[in-house]
């Protein structure tokens, strides 16, 4: 089952997409977008894994004694977690404004544009 972690990543991503398409609440839709993002983290970390590997931190590990996992993808996932959280906050701020101006958070009821 060498491809199972990759398939899990794809499945998480598609589950988020399904939620986005069928969402009836904008807050729920923002949550689904975070699920899509989580799929990319699973993929990144799966790509970087090495059998028997440990964290690439050498403060208490002598270099060369143990295999370490790929630090590049870990750094990518790490920055994206924080940046993704603030982008989620921005989207939620948009939802707050939509709820105030239109009185609804159902995307299906936001049919008409209002100036």
């Amino acid at each position: 089952m060498d491809v199972l972690p990759y398939l899990v990543a794809g499945w998480v991503f598609l589950a988020g997409c399904y939620g986005l398409a069928t969402s009836r609440n904008l807050i729920h839709a923002v949550g689904c977008l975070s699920v899509c993002q989580a799929g990319t983290y699973v993929l990144l970390l799966a790509v970087g894994y090495r059998d028997g590997g440990t964290a690439p931190v050498f403060s208490d590990l002598k270099p060369g004694t143990r295999p370490v996992v790929d630090p590049v993808v870990q750094a990518l996932a790490l920055t994206d977690v924080v940046v993704g959280a603030t982008v989620t906050a921005l989207l939620l701020a948009l939802v707050v404004q939509v709820a105030k101006r239109h009185g609804t958070v159902d995307p299906d009821e936001l049919g008409e544009l209002r100036g």
């Binding site: 931190v57 790490l78 940046v83």
Partner: protein, 246 residues
Amino acid sequence: MNRRMRLCLVALGGAGLAALFTAAFLRLPAFGGDRHPYGDRAVRAALHRHTANTIASVNFDLRAFDTLGETSILFASVLGCVVLLRQARDEHRARPEPADVAPPVRRYALLVLPVAVLTGLYVVAHGQLSPGGGFQGGVVTATALHLLYLGADYHALERVRPLGAYEAGDALAVSAYVVTGLAAVLAGTAFLANTLLPYGTFNTLSSGGTVPLLNAAVGMEVACAVVVLLARFLDQAVEIEEDSGK
């Protein structure tokens, strides 16, 4: 478009995407394999530059320019939130009533608060040595401050949180990151190149050249950004009210 038709479209697109995913995944290098050319080179470069935490080295040295982009996204989205969640013309501010807090909640929140803030600062400071760094430690520090909201009330939180100072701190931290990069240019190398400072002794706080500086700048930015974000959302929930009867 009705819901049934939309669902059919999603199923069609999703099935196509799933098929493409599977085809791509089958040709990826096997999970847990031993071949990580970039990872091996990153580990070598980090050890060469005396940074014990390779991930900090990747973020603040090898890919420091990329992290500048990430912090800019962070800064821009905080700016967007501040603009979106401002007080509108048809709203007013109401002073929130002090609420009673259960004594055990108050006691433990105030007890944990200094420990949590200190933990956050520790995680930032040791970013180049142990797991952690500016991104994680900043979030811990900022959320720890909000224990005051749980333990006391909103008014107490507002007193330890002069929002203007945090907004300025956010901008200042991003500028500090850019200035550190420009300092390398002035010294005659590339933007954000880690050749300015001595690499120091391996596994000590001052090791890694400019890594600790950039790490601290990002820690400050993330902490300020999270404080400002949470303040804006709390304002909406607690203080800002719509004028009724208009």
